[in-house]
């Protein structure tokens, strides 16, 4: 028997914002500010953005792994911003709000891939 998991409207909105945000952030991988930090900084930042994008796709499909990846990418981004001393408070604030919503609906999500 197939379990149908309807996605709450708030998660749909968050996912759309998140996917657009991730795609927009991808352009920043080439930003001279990030390039100046180190040779590998754009690659690390790009990986975090890619993970964030993947996590929103997972959440769109109501998968728990999406939430886990999203939280991991969020912490990785915080660590990265602390290391480069360029803390984006708006981004952190938004991520916290998103995470709270993801955790509210976490139990309704699927454990499988």
């Amino acid at each position: 028997m197939e379990v149908i998991r309807n996605r709450p409207i708030i998660l749909t909105i968050i996912c759309i914002i998140g996917i657009m945000w991730s795609l927009g952030s991808f352009v920043f991988v080439f930003s001279p500010t990030i390039k100046k930090i180190s040779d590998w900084a754009p690659a690390i930042y790009g990986t975090m953005v890619a993970l964030q994008f993947i996590s929103f796709i997972g959440i769109w499909h109501m998968k728990r792994w999406g939430v886990m990846i999203c939280i991991s990418a969020f912490f990785a981004k915080i660590i990265f911003s602390l290391v480069v001393q360029d803390i984006a408070y708006v981004e952190i604030g938004l991520s916290i709000i998103f995470t709270v919503f993801f955790l509210i609906f976490y139990r309704r999500m699927d454990e499988e891939l």
Partner: protein, 414 residues
């Protein structure tokens, strides 16, 4: 171990899919090739230009203060008329600075002016004649390849001797050893005692290759040392451990004293330093970098959409194959990895082509512009990682959709 075997198998499936549809694969990776080419070529050019400029600025000495009439940089509301009546720097001021300064290691006076240099029937037009006091060699960075620098006695007595740049030497003495030969500058005969080591072209025009350095005491016969047109300059080098700001403070006091300026009067001299030029270049290069970043960033994003599109087509085409694989026990992640590997491979191959195009292009540009252009390690890393990540981002949704297909429904699909 099992995961690695599955990963290898997914990879082989992906290779097979790419080889089967060669033209389609080529067209879809073209987007990434163009994107990577656009962005990395801009970065390569700006990095090379920046390096060249910084090297030129460095050769002027980053611990040297230039006492001149005109400042090197001006604000938007630059009162140029104020500077017109300023006196130019003079040798007597150099002597005072040498006497009074505690924070300087060395100081020299120099002027530069273009003249034609002749040897027998050969001549070099617009050679940069630098007339300098003895400590020029301490303040300016250069190497004498053949021969020697002036002795203190030769500088003091103004002996007609010169050290010539490599380009001048090649122009005037193609088959001969220049040392000991007599060249003519503005009718005066000068003995060549040294040749500078080749430096290559400088973006600021301060390369010693086209320069002829003569003692300032000899140059008095050739030029008017107080002429505004030749920009008389006193170069002061800071002692080790002394910052440029400290030296500038000291020089401001000394120069104000020499020129007898009252406390309410403004300085009538400019203390320039190479960091002023570096700051200007930083602004310029950040604008070029941002332009390249925006153009390249969006073109690579468009390339990513191309990959995503082709991956959706690929999934649609192979739906029944996915069904068969799943019905034979293939896990969801195996299907996901298979398509993801295909997208990443497409992207990385596209990126590699883009990098190879740039690598080839550097040789063409080097030959055309006589400029050293390097595809740096950091730009290669950037190009490859970004193409791989674009592959992941653009291939994930189609790959995930493929992994979620119902085997029965998938097999039924035509």
């Amino acid at each position: 171990m099992l995961f690695l075997t599955l990963f290898k198998e997914s990879f082989l499936f992906a290779v097979q899919a790419l080889v089967t549809n060669k033209l389609r694969s080529f067209l879809s990776l073209l987007g990434i090739t163009i994107g990577i080419f656009a962005i990395i070529s801009v970065f390569t050019m700006t990095d090379s230009l920046e390096k060249k400029l910084r090297d030129s600025v460095k050769s002027m000495g980053d611990d040297v203060i230039y006492v001149q009439k005109w400042p090197w940089t001006f604000g938007p509301d630059y009162p140029w008329w104020k500077y017109m009546n300023r006196p130019v720097s003079s040798i007597s001021e150099l002597n005072e600075i040498q006497k009074q300064s505690q924070k300087s290691e060395a100081a020299c006076f120099s002027i530069s002016t273009p003249f034609t240099v002749k040897y027998k029937s050969s001549s070099v037009e617009n050679a940069n004649i630098i007339c300098a006091s003895h400590d020029y060699y301490t303040v300016k960075t250069f190497e004498v390849g053949e021969g020697r620098y002036f002795s203190e006695m030769e500088s003091a007595t103004g002996r007609p001797i010169a050290i010539i740049g490599n380009t001048i030497a090649e122009g005037l003495f193609p088959q001969e050893d220049p040392i000991g030969k007599i060249i003519t500058v503005k009718g005066s005969k000068i003995i060549v005692i040294g040749v500078f080591k080749r430096e290559g072209e400088s973006m600021l025009g301060n390369s010693m290759d086209a320069a002829v350095v003569i003692p300032i005491n000899f140059a008095r016969n050739l030029v008017d040392l107080r002429s505004d047109r030749i920009d008389p300059t006193i170069r002061v080098k800071a002692r080790p451990g002394i910052s440029n700001e400290e030296l500038k403070d000291e020089l401001t006091g000394i120069m104000r004293g020499i020129r007898k300026l009252k406390p309410i009067e403004e300085d009538n001299f400019a203390l320039n330093q190479t960091s002023m030029l570096s700051t200007q270049f930083d602004g310029l290069f950040s604008i070029v970098g941002i332009a390249g970043w925006i153009i390249g960033g969006f073109s690579i994003l468009v390339g990513g959409f191309g990959i995503a599109n082709i991956m959706f087509v690929s999934v649609k085409e192979r739906t029944n194959l996915i069904g068969i694989q799943k019905s034979l026990g293939a896990k969801n992640y195996f299907i996901l990895l298979q398509f993801l590997a295909e997208a990443v491979m497409l992207s990385v191959i596209g990126g590699t082509f883009g990098l190879l195009l740039i690598y080839g292009g550097t040789f063409i540009v080097e030959a055309a512009m006589d400029m050293n252009i390097n595809l740096t390690k950091s730009n290669i890393i950037l190009g490859l990682t970004i193409s791989a990540l674009i592959g992941v981002v653009s291939g994930f949704v189609p790959a995930y959709n493929a992994s979620q297909l119902d085997p029965v429904e998938a097999i039924r699909t035509n």
